[in-house]
Every structure is written in C-alpha cells, then in structure tokens.
C-alpha cells in the first residue's frame, strides 16, 4: 500500500510487520522517531506479543537484545553515532555469539566536535565488528532492507545492521509502498534460533576460547559472511518476486554498461549522484553509478565485475579514515583491476554538509578531465583551513581546532547544508 510518510515511521511499520518480540530503546538523534513509533505500537497493542524495553544506555540496549536473542526471541534495536560507539563492545559480542539481532543505524557523524547531522563515520567505524551491514538508498529500500535483514540474519545466525542516512532519510516524508502483513509473513519464516537458552536443553553460551581454537572461531565467522555473499542475491530475487521491487542485494548498478567513469557510493547520496550522472550523460559523458547496498560482507567479486570496464572510479564517501583517507575507497582499491591510481576518493557530506548536484557535477567533470586528486574533500572551505593551518604553524598551542574554525566562520550557521 502506498503511503506518504516519514522514513522513520516507514521503518517502524516495517519492523513491526516483522513481528519483533523484544525491542530495546534508548534515545539518540536521528534514530529516535523509529523506536518512538514502535513504542506506541506496542503500547497501543497494534504490535502484540512484543516487549518494548526502555533501557538506560545503548550498551544496555544491545545487551538486552543479546539476552533476548539468546533466549530465542526476535530482537531489534536502533541507534546512531555516539550511541553505536557506546555499545561497540556489545556489538562485537552479538556477532561473536552469532545472535541474529537486527539494528537500524540512522547514520550520523561522531564527535568531537559534537554534531548531530548525517555522515557514515558511525557505521563504518564498526565495519569489522562481524555484523552484516546494509545501506539504504531511500526510504523504500530502508524499510525493505529491514524485512530482508531479519530473514538474512536468522538464516545465517548473524546480526544485521541496516544503515540509513540520518535526517536525510529518517526525517524525510516520501512515498513508500508498505507491504501487507501477509506478504511479510510469507517471506519471513518464524524465528528458529540456531542455539537457545532453554532449561530443557541446557548449554553454556559464550565460553572462553584460547589460542588453541580462537583462530578457527574467527575463520568460521569470516566463512559465514562469505556465505552471506552467495545467499544475499538469491534472497533479493525472492524479495523481488514477492514484493515486486528491487531492494537489497549486493550492489545497484546504474548506467554502468558502457561507463568509462563509475561513481561508487553508499546510501541516500546515490539519488543525487544519479541525477547528476543523468545530467552529465546528456552532455555525452560516459558515467555510471555503482551503489553498494551490502558493505559487509564486502562483495569483492561483484564490485570487480561491475568496475571491470571502467577507466576510472570515483568513490564518494561520507566518512574519513583520518590519517588514511577514504574507507570505502580502500575497499574498492583491491576490487578494481584498473589499479589504485585510477581510484579517486572523494570525502563528502561530513557532519551533514549538503552534497549538491552542482558540486558533484563540477567534481565529476574534473575527474573525467583527469584533474581530480586521488583524495578530494568536496566543497571544502579551502581558505578557512589554510588560515587554521597557518595559525597552527605560527603558534603551537592554538586551542581546539573546532573553536578556531567557528571563530573564522563567525556564527554557527543554521543554514541549509
């Protein structure tokens, strides 16, 4: 059924359709609307047979989910930014124990300086935590991915993180096609836990494993994610068959067939990128787009295949590996036969900085013209950082960088982007 609703509420409704049994909630922007929506559904009885638990921290949220999942309940929670970092220990633990928890991450920057706006630093900081990480391009995909996530996680006994851009998606009203309960029930079987805490068949979960077996345990975790790579496309096909939509899967290809230049990106920015690419195509540029839906496990073969024909790759990423550069691009390097120097990392949209068609077009034209640096910061206020660096040079103790920049900027602008 078509609806014009906020992304958060779309996700909340989709999660409810998945019949979660335990939901742990701790407020942090921009995830809050999702659990608020679910909380109301549980209280009103619209979502029956579900425990909604207001916990005292994200660490507790993930921990409660771990307990619930280990006891055989379908568990869900949502978080963002600092919250994800605060629960990091439990995030690793959930995957280590192989518990199919589904968590929404409403992507947001990480402080300091504190910043509530969108980028991917939070999710990418957890890229090696052993969870499956899916990135939604729009609200339709966001809600679809949650339905797939429960199926995926429970079949593989792995936790799944559904990443959607904070505010840009979570707070955006747009049209979504909300599936019916029947459709979801048909696609998502009853949760049959692989291991469960039950007095009738007692086991000890979470043993201490020493050097004699730890490597093997890690290897098996890796093998399990590799297995996911094989299965995910099939499940996406099944999903298409059941719901008539292309959601999920490993990658989304857009006009890459004959593309010399392929833009790689994650999440909501893909929409703007596609519009930009259409514009450049009209000017005769052979540009395509590769959207990475499944970031973990990293679909190396699929990416390599998608980039096979490209002369150059531009990776637009909303995160920065400080001291290295691009995180996604580092993943792309070894998936691209063309060699690292043909891969350009473009850091964009950090902390909510708007990524505009104009800037993208300018940057892509540079790329096509071979003027694009290996590492670029889109729309960076160059003069400002120059001044800051200069100040750095002249006096070593110049106070917090953020403060200095704001001083240059004058006011904290609540301006768009």
């Amino acid at each position: 059924m078509l609806k014009q609703i906020e992304g958060s509420h779309a996700v909340a409704e989709a999660v409810a359709l998945c019949r979660p049994e335990v939901i742990c909630a701790y407020p942090i922007s921009p995830q809050t609307h999702i659990v608020e929506g679910l909380g109301e559904m549980v209280k009103s009885g619209a979502l029956a047979k579900c425990e909604f638990i207001n916990v005292e921290s994200e660490f507790a949220a993930m921990s409660v989910a771990i307990g619930a999942s280990a006891a055989g309940a379908r568990a869900y929670t949502a978080t963002a930014s600092q919250g994800l970092l605060f629960m990091a220990e439990a995030v690793f633990n959930a995957s280590g124990l192989g518990l199919p928890i589904v968590m929404t991450v409403a992507n947001r920057a990480i402080g300091a300086p504190i910043n509530i706006w969108n980028d991917h630093t939070d999710a990418l900081s957890q890229r090696d935590c052993g969870w499956i990480q899916l990135f939604a391009e729009n609200n339709q995909e966001a809600l679809d991915l949650h339905i797939q996530a429960f199926r995926l996680g429970e079949e593989l006994s792995l936790p799944v993180m559904v990443c959607m851009d904070g505010f840009i998606l979570t707070h955006a009203y747009e049209r979504v096609d909300m599936p019916t309960q029947e459709q979801v029930d048909a696609y998502l079987p009853i949760f049959e836990p692989r291991q469960v805490l039950d007095p009738s068949e007692p086991v000890s979960i979470g043993a201490m494993v020493g050097p004699e077996a730890f490597m093997e345990v890690r290897y098996l975790a890796h093998a399990k994610q590799m297995k996911a790579l094989e299965l995910i496309p099939g499940w996406a096909d099944e999903f298409r068959a059941a719901f008539g939509r292309d959601s999920g899967g490993l990658l989304h290809r857009y006009r890459t067939e004959d593309a010399d230049t392929v833009v790689v990106a994650l999440g909501s920015v893909l929409g703007t990128v596609k519009d930009t690419v259409d514009e450049l195509r009209r000017d005769g540029q052979k540009i395509g787009v590769l959207g990475v839906t499944c970031f973990r496990p990293w679909p190396l073969a699929a990416v390599r295949e998608a980039l096979a024909g490209a002369k150059r790759v531009v990776v637009i990423e909303k995160s920065l590996a400080v001291g290295l550069g691009g995180i996604v691009s580092s993943n792309v390097y070894n998936s691209y036969a063309g060699g690292a120097d043909a891969v350009h990392a473009v850091i964009a949209g950090l902390g909510g900085r708007a990524i505009t068609r104009a800037s993208l077009a300018r940057m892509l034209r540079d790329a096509v013209a071979g003027r694009l640096e290996p590492l670029t910061f889109l729309d960076l206020d160059q003069p400002l950082v120059e001044r800051a660096l200069a100040r750095e040079r002249e006096q070593r103790r110049s106070g917090p960088l953020a403060e200095a920049i704001l001083r240059d900027l004058g006011v904290v602008a609540a301006r768009p982007g």
């Binding site: 014009q4 840009i168 955006a172 929409g271 703007t272 519009d275 768009p416």
Partner: protein, 176 residues
C-alpha cells in the same frame, strides 16, 4: 515542518511524487526553521536541500531580515507571506517587481477557526490558491490525515478561508 509534510501529503494524494524534509537542526519549539518540499510527476531521487525554490512560504515575516530567505528564488517566483501588513510595512517594496507576492493573515484565521496561533493549514490553503499545483480538497485531506476531529475541522476551515482569501486577492489582482 508540519506544513511541508502536509504539502507533500497533499501532493501525494494528487498522485504526485513528493518529498518533504526539514533543514535538519535540533529544532526547539519556536526557533526559526526552514523546511523543504519537492513535488514531481516522477520519482524524486535528489537529496540536496531546495536551493532554487519555485515558491516560498514565509510563516514568520519577523525573520525576513535575519536570513536571506529569497536566496535562490527564481524570477517571478511565488511568495506567500503570513501577515496582515503590506509589503511597504514589511520593507519589501523594492522586491515587489522581482517576485509574485501574496499575503494571508494565516495566524488570525487559525486563531479564528482553530483557536490557536497555528498558521500552517491556512498557509497551505493559501498556497493551493497561488500555486495551482494542488487542490484545496487535497490540502483538506492532508490536514485530515495529520489531525482528527475538531482540530482537523478547524484547520480545514482555516485552510479553506485562507484559500478563498488568496483567490480573492489574486482575482482583485492587488499585488500589495
């Protein structure tokens, strides 16, 4: 924000694709905010803020001189201002030729019909009149989706009143 939401719902009800989103701040009640709405016949993929609006709804004219709200507004762009005062009084005389202004006493209408100074519905009613993109019925429906009972009725009444007000304004062709 509510206005943008309802606008997008109204557009959706008319079979269009619509996208509404705030200028993401941690808004506190009463603080100045900007919200955006896109409407299109096709799927909307673009995620950048609306930088070159076709129309501008100004809920609170007191902000006029704090932020350059007209930035990006195209020539002959439509502007709907919630006010009882004239452009001169608002100090916008010199812009009169540049954009197409309409004003509506949305807050008063809200006070009259809803009982509270909530101008959104009235402004949408007015916008339906100037833009011609959406019908007043769609606006009413959108309002009823957001609100219910007396509040909905009040808001619908306010919207209709505003719609008539602006239609008359246009008809009388007095571009203040």
């Amino acid at each position: 924000m509510t206005a943008a939401e309802m606008l997008s719902i109204a557009a959706f009800r008319e079979g269009r694709h619509a996208q509404a989103f705030p200028s993401f701040g941690s808004e506190r009640t009463g603080a100045p905010v900007v919200a955006f709405c896109r409407m299109d016949e096709r799927e909307i993929r673009l995620r950048e803020p609306v930088l070159e609006p076709d129309a501008l709804i100004i809920q609170d004219p007191t902000l006029l001189h704090q932020v350059d709200v007209f930035a990006g507004l195209g020539a002959a762009g439509r502007v709907l201002i919630n006010t009882t005062r004239s452009l001169e009084q608002l100090g916008l005389k010199e812009l009169a030729g540049k954009f197409r202004f309409c004003s509506v006493p949305a807050t008063e209408l809200a006070l009259k019909h809803v009982g509270r100074p909530v101008p959104n519905a009235a402004l949408l009613g007015g916008f339906a009149a100037i833009a011609g993109l959406i019908s007043i019925d769609a606006v009413a429906a959108a309002i009823r989706e957001k609100f219910s009972g007396a509040v909905a009725d009040g808001n619908v009444a306010a919207a209709s009143a505003a719609h008539e007000y602006v239609m008359r304004e246009i008809a009388e062709g007095l571009h203040a």
